[in-house]
């Protein structure tokens, strides 16, 4: 049987609470969006609440001329792609041998992986190491130290452990070595876990800024989030002075710095907002896989 209660007062309360939750999670972004496309005069007074006043896309066409933003965008894409490829590669190659019963010293390798999850050297020793390795202020500082993730290695290993041992054994009898077993049997079978690892990495690298702030003083190689930080937090970049001609045009249009900032937020967050409903299931899967092992 299934439970059929009447739609009562309790349901009304629950629905109202849930509507409130939706409102507080969605409204700030929505507010930024409507302000960015409102008429500059209304936007400057910040008197826009529920729907845009007027329709003005000029802020976006001004931003599109910002060379520094495009450059930072390019570097972010470079960091995201290289990190994702490398993290997937290191996760697979480190997880696969751990599933073999024949591996001598497996316990030591597992302990070697687990210790850094509980204890680390911290910010300063890592910083000194990066400097000593000559990675400081290069693009490699955002690639090599972050090209593996122990947590993902363990997730991948958990997934690999579910692949029947007999598959590997029969491949061995057919004369395959470990390299080809990994490449031709394990990798094709583990697309679900690779999707989880890949998408986690993409989102984390896309949103990360702290390593760049510590390791890359050179603004020319910094990712998009660092550029956003200069615009939104430090306010050392004045968007109203993008180019001389534009500055005059903007004075005429009364485009405020604030409206430009909000447009910048939308411009750089839109890819995430439009895609996350489709890949959220991988995050949910990652959390659940993690809790099984944790």
């Amino acid at each position: 049987m299934s439970i059929k209660r009447k739609f009562g007062a309790g349901d009304v309360v629950i629905y109202l609470v849930m509507l409130f939750v939706c409102f507080i999670t969605l409204y700030p972004m929505y507010y930024v969006f409507i302000l960015s496309i409102s008429d500059p005069v209304a936007a400057a007074g910040m008197k826009v609440y529920f729907w845009p006043k007027g329709l003005y896309f000029r802020a976006y066409s001004v931003l599109a001329t910002d060379g520094r933003m495009w450059r930072a965008y390019g570097y972010t894409i470079f960091y995201v792609i290289s990190n994702t490829v490398l993290v997937i590669l290191t996760s697979i190659t480190c997880a696969y041998p751990l599933t073999s019963k024949k591996l001598v010293g497996r316990k030591f390798v597992v302990a070697f992986l687990l210790i850094p999850m509980y204890f680390g050297g911290g910010l300063i020793p890592s910083f000194l190491l990066i400097s000593k390795l000559g990675l400081y202020n290069t693009v490699w500082a955002l690639i090599i130290p972050s090209c593996f993730n122990i947590w993902y290695i363990i997730l991948t290993r958990t997934f690999f452990a579910g692949i029947p041992e007999s598959l590997r054994e029969s491949a061995r009898i057919d004369g395959a070595n470990n390299f080809s077993i990994l490449a031709r049997i394990y990798v094709p079978l583990s697309k679900p876990i690779l999707a989880v690892v890949g998408i986690y990495t993409i989102v984390n690298v896309w949103n990360s800024w702290f390593p760049s702030m510590v390791y890359q003083p050179d603004t020319a190689i910094q990712p998009l989030q660092m550029y956003l930080r200069r615009v939104l937090i430090e306010q050392t970049v004045d968007l109203t002075k993008l180019t001389q001609a534009e500055a005059e045009a903007m004075a005429r249009l009364k485009l405020s710095n604030n409206q430009l900032k909000y447009s910048m937020i939308i411009f750089t967050t839109l890819p995430v907002i439009f895609t996350y409903p489709f890949f959220q299931k991988y995050f949910v899967k990652g959390v659940m896989l993690g809790s099984l092992k944790g």
Binding site: I3, F7, G10, D11, I14, M18, V21, C22, I24, T25, L26, P28, M29, V32, K47, T90, T93, C94, Y96, L98, K102, L103, V104, F112, P116, F119, G121, G122, L123, I124, P125, S126, L128, L129, I144, I150, D174, G175, N177, N178, F179, W209, F210, V214, L228, L232, I233, K261, I265, T268, T269, V272, I273, Y276, Q280, F283, V284, V287, M288, S291
Partner: protein, 324 residues
Amino acid sequence: MKPINNKIEGKSGGNSELSRRKRKSGLVRENMELYAIMLPTLILIFIFCYIPIYGLLIAFQDYSPGMPFLSFSGNIKWVGLKHFTRFITGPFFNRIMWNTILLSFYNLLFGFWLPIIFALLLNEVRSLRFKKFTQTASYLPYFISAVVVAGMVLSFVRTDGLANNIVAALGGTRKAFNTDPKAFPAIYTITNVWKSFGFNSILYLSAITAIDPTLYESAYLDGATRFQSMWHITLPSIKPTIAIMLIMAVGSLLASNTDLILLLYSPATYPTADVIGTYVYRLGIQGGQFSYTTAIGLLASVINFIMVFAANKASDKIAGYSLW
């Protein structure tokens, strides 16, 4: 593909001495292959995880850049616990420890229960479509970058920002919350909880879906109200998850969200916003006091470690759940 050592299993009949030797060489070969596959990653882990641990030695030295972490030529100045005592007796010790603990405590106080209540209520929503929509909406803040979130929040709390517009509409007076030390803990806690409550509810929601539905049916037949079955079935069923999350939360009491604080704070709000992580960043990375800040970091992680251990013991004794 070349056949390598596949003949071991096949022909065990003939010379047993030879086959044993072959099996042994097969095992060696197997292990060589396996280690070759994982060696690059293991080397990377050694370099980027283990060498920094070894680098903690500089907390007990007067280290200056260019010096080795450890050598026997005698050019290292060992200073014992000098940096630790300097920090503990220093003028900022109380402020930093207090801020760190207080901000984490607020976060625990408000951020810990909200995901549980949200998951419990969301589970009661009947319309599947509305449930899915609310869930997706609640994840949105998690996916927006900390920089953008902080940028939005800072613009909202300025005198002409959204938060002040609301305050003014309610009859209050406008205030520059972004430079007000008294407002910082609230701004930080609200931002942090807003950003993470939806995502933190995933674990509870998945624990709830694992509950046997026949429990609810028999409770319903016995006349239990919805609130009663929530209280007597759902909540006890997710108790282990709650206990483990609480252990981890208590264990990270000294590890506040340095990322977000670095973005939200300013010299004006240091009195309530400066925590261990931000202090280490400012004095270490920006100020070059490597030994001193390494000592602070080490002290914090040792205390953290002890607290996880203690919380785990306590949870094991009181509730019977533990991490290990």
